[in-house]
């Protein structure tokens, strides 16, 4: 098994382009493959088209009418092929009740964007993925 084959792929769903870029760069530097989406529709498209997506980095408010909650609902719905993919909610604006809804649907972790360093989120995510893998 080569190093390339061992790389994990993260689908980053974030509407703010500068943030999306920063996340992508940092994830790539941290050893991940990254695919990015700014709407739920794009994200669902990548999930269908790109095999082996290992994790989803998700914001709450997204471009388009749908929010991150719609994507999680779709992923975790019965019969979904993506229900096993760990999801990390990274948002500044999700309200407490929304966060509760995400966690109930099966989101692995929630981070407040403004309060976290990028490397800290990535480290946390790595640890979580290692647990999932084990």
């Amino acid at each position: 098994m080569t190093d390339e084959q061992r790389k994990k792929t993260v689908l980053v769903v974030e509407d703010e382009r500068p943030l999306l870029n920063a996340i992508s760069i940092k994830l790539e530097r941290s050893g991940f493959d990254v695919v990015t989406a700014r709407t739920v529709e794009q994200a669902l498209g990548y999930l269908s088209d790109v095999p082996n997506i290992d994790a989803i980095w998700l914001d709450h408010y997204l471009l388009g009418k749908e929010s991150g909650l719609d994507l999680v609902t779709a992923c975790k719905s019965e019969g979904s092929a993506h229900s096993g993919i760990p999801i990390f909610l990274v948002s500044n604006t999700a309200s407490a009740d929304k966060v509760q809804s995400y966690l109930k649907l099966g989101v692995n972790k929630y981070f407040v964007k403004a309060e976290m360093r990028l490397d800290a989120i990535i480290e946390d995510m790595k640890a979580e993925l290692a647990i999932e893998e084990a």
């Binding site: 703010e16 500068p18 943030l19 920063a22 996340i23 760069i25 940092k26 530097r29 500044n92 604006t93 309200s95 407490a96 009740d97 407040v112 964007k113 403004a114 309060e115 360093r117 990028l118 490397d119």
Partner: protein, 573 residues
């Protein structure tokens, strides 16, 4: 010797003299036995005569004494001598009878005079009683007039006070208590003068009242005046509007219009005794209590701020005045402002995150190695941005507390462990400032059913403030222990202290003490505001003791029953 004794002696001796002479002649004739025989009967006769005369004389004297007693007692009809006396001394008895008759006549005269005088006394007594009654009546009238005048004067002064005008009134007349008839007449005249003055005052009062009513009608706040028994004596149109009443009978009790009034914060019904107006009637001023009134016209409620002041006369409460302002608009504006702050803060978070993460990547060398100068500059950018994030978080917390959108998620919390964790977090600052930190965390402190995030916020703010505002080398002590049915937390420092003039505002939003502002620019003035809000939402208490230049001690007590779960849309961070 009395005349009576002389007379008896004379009569007795005169009876004895012939016998003694015969006895002397017989002795000279040498007839001693015959002399003795002649002398003895003579002596016996003389003694008998003396006894008879003495007895009669005694009876007369007794009679005279008895009459004298009759004279004294007024019994002149019995002023008669006995038959024996009459026979023995007819002339004397006649004279005595005449004296008795004369005395009887004189006595009759005296009796008549006495009766007349008694009548006169009776008449005079009646007159005095009537005079006294009149005096009492006049005193009562005077007292009533006096009271009326004092009342009018008081009302007038109150009106003057409201109008902000000065007017000198004549001093109240002292009410007399007792007068004689002449003084009463004088008082009557004085009273008439007072009444004249009163008429003038009344006329002046009527003018002032008209002016006053115009002023009261034109003010935009509700106004209610009650007497000492809580009966409404004045209620302006705005007050009627706010209280949802169209007409109030004079002397209606305030409880009728204030019934069902609620606390603005808890919306729980407030008992009448705790309302500001009721407290003011008892002599206690209450400022700006926020209340909620629900009326058929305003089912959602109308928020008012009520201030009540007692009306004191000679140190005694005579009633109270309450003013109340419609706070609905102000609350709407305040809510809009808070919502704006919340929205703006949320929107600011995204660009702040961008700055944060790019600065972080640059500092991590993700875009190539930085030279020292670049690193220093970028580090400032990163730190500045962190401060901005902290400020935004505090503003969001404030808006959540004010909007009531924050959630409380209580769980079994080890307060001692939490305090230790906060202290550990502060270790770098403690080291940097060379602070002598001592912690007394009683391990027997029971766990508290509380939201650990909120509790951490309280301890974090108090401890970080203590460290931040204590000069290098100073000391900070933290104590956590059980205290009755509460958990007591104490944070003491030897820092700047809070200046006396700032102590009343130290928990106000965005307020920073003068010396804190002068010594450190990094501070939002939101920390203690948030701490107090959290403590009060948890039914706890917070207080402090502070002396400028010596230090400050904050005391927090949280009830052991813990916090109540609250479903909010936001958590405090």
């Amino acid at each position: 010797m009395t005349i009576r004794s002389k007379a008896i002696t004379f009569v007795s001796l005169s009876a004895l003299v012939p016998c003694v002479l015969a006895a002397v002649l017989l002795v000279l004739a040498d007839r001693a036995l015959w002399a003795f025989l002649v002398c003895v009967p003579g002596i016996i006769w003389a003694l008998f005569l003396a006894w008879v005369l003495g007895r009669t004389h005694r009876r007369v004297l007794q009679e005279l004494t008895a009459r004298a007693r009759d004279v004294v007692s007024g019994n002149l009809t019995a002023f008669r001598v006995s038959d024996d006396t009459h026979r023995a001394f007819p002339a004397y008895a006649e004279q005595l009878a005449a004296v008795g008759t004369a005395l009887e006549a004189r006595f009759e005269e005296v009796r008549q005079q006495v009766a007349e005088q008694a009548q006169e006394i009776e008449r005079m007594t009646q007159h005095v009683a009537e005079a006294k009654h009149e005096q009492d009546r006049m005193s009562t009238v005077l007292m009533e007039r006096e009271y009326t005048m004092v009342q009018l004067k008081r009302s007038l002064k109150e009106l003057q006070r409201r109008c902000g005008e000065e007017m000198v009134l004549p001093e109240a007349t002292t009410v007399p208590t007792e007068h004689d008839a002449a003084e009463m007449l004088h008082d009557k005249a004085a009273m008439l003068n007072v009444l004249e003055d009163l008429e003038e005052e009344k006329s002046l009062l009527a003018t002032e009242k008209a002016k006053d009513e115009a002023i009261l009608k034109s003010i935009g706040d509700g106004l209610m005046v009650v007497d000492v028994r809580g009966r409404i004596t004045f209620l302006n149109e705005i007050a009627k509007e706010l209280l949802g009443v169209s007409f109030v009978d004079p002397s209606t009790n305030m409880s009728v219009v204030l019934k069902g009034i609620r606390d603005a914060k808890s919306e729980a019904e407030v008992s009448l005794e705790t309302l500001p107006l009721a407290q003011a009637v008892q002599g206690k001023s209450v400022e700006k209590q926020d209340l909620l009134i629900r009326t058929p016209d305003a089912p959602d409620g109308c928020y008012i701020s009520m201030t009540a002041t007692p009306i004191m006369v000679s140190g005694l409460p005579m009633g109270a005045v309450a003013t109340f302002r419609d706070m609905t608009k102000e609350r709407e504006i305040d809510r809009a402002k808070t919502e704006f702050v919340s929205l703006a803060s949320h929107q600011l978070r995204t660009p702040l995150s961008t700055i944060n993460w790019y600065a972080e990547m640059l500092l991590a060398g993700d875009a190539g190695e930085l030279n020292d100068e670049q690193r220093t500059y970028l580090d400032e950018v990163y730190q500045g941005n962190q401060r901005m994030v902290d400020l935004i978080n505090s503003l969001l917390n404030v808006s959540r507390l004010e909007l009531g959108t924050f959630s409380v998620d209580p769980e079994d919390t080890d307060v001692v462990a939490l305090a230790q964790s906060v202290l550990n977090e502060q270790a770098p600052q403690v080291k940097e400032r060379d602070i002598q930190l001592s912690a007394t965390l009683d391990p027997s402190t029971p766990h508290l059913y509380a939201d650990p995030k909120l509790l951490r916020m309280v301890l974090q703010n108090l401890i970080s403030n203590a460290i931040k505002y204590t000069p290098i080398g100073g000391s900070v002590s933290v104590k956590v222990e059980p205290s009755g049915d509460a958990i007591s937390m104490r944070v003491a420092d030897t820092g700047l202290g809070i200046p006396k003039e700032d102590q009343g505002r130290i928990f106000s939003k965005l307020f920073r003490a003068t010396n804190a502002r002068e010594s450190d620019t990094d501070g939002t003035g939101l920390g203690l505001y948030i701490v107090r809000s959290v403590v009060e939402h948890s039914d706890g208490t917070i207080r402090f003791e502070s002396e400028e230049g010596k230090g400050t001690v904050f005391y927090v007590e949280l009830p052991l029953r813990g916090m109540t779960k609250r479903e909010g849309t936001r958590t405090l961070s």
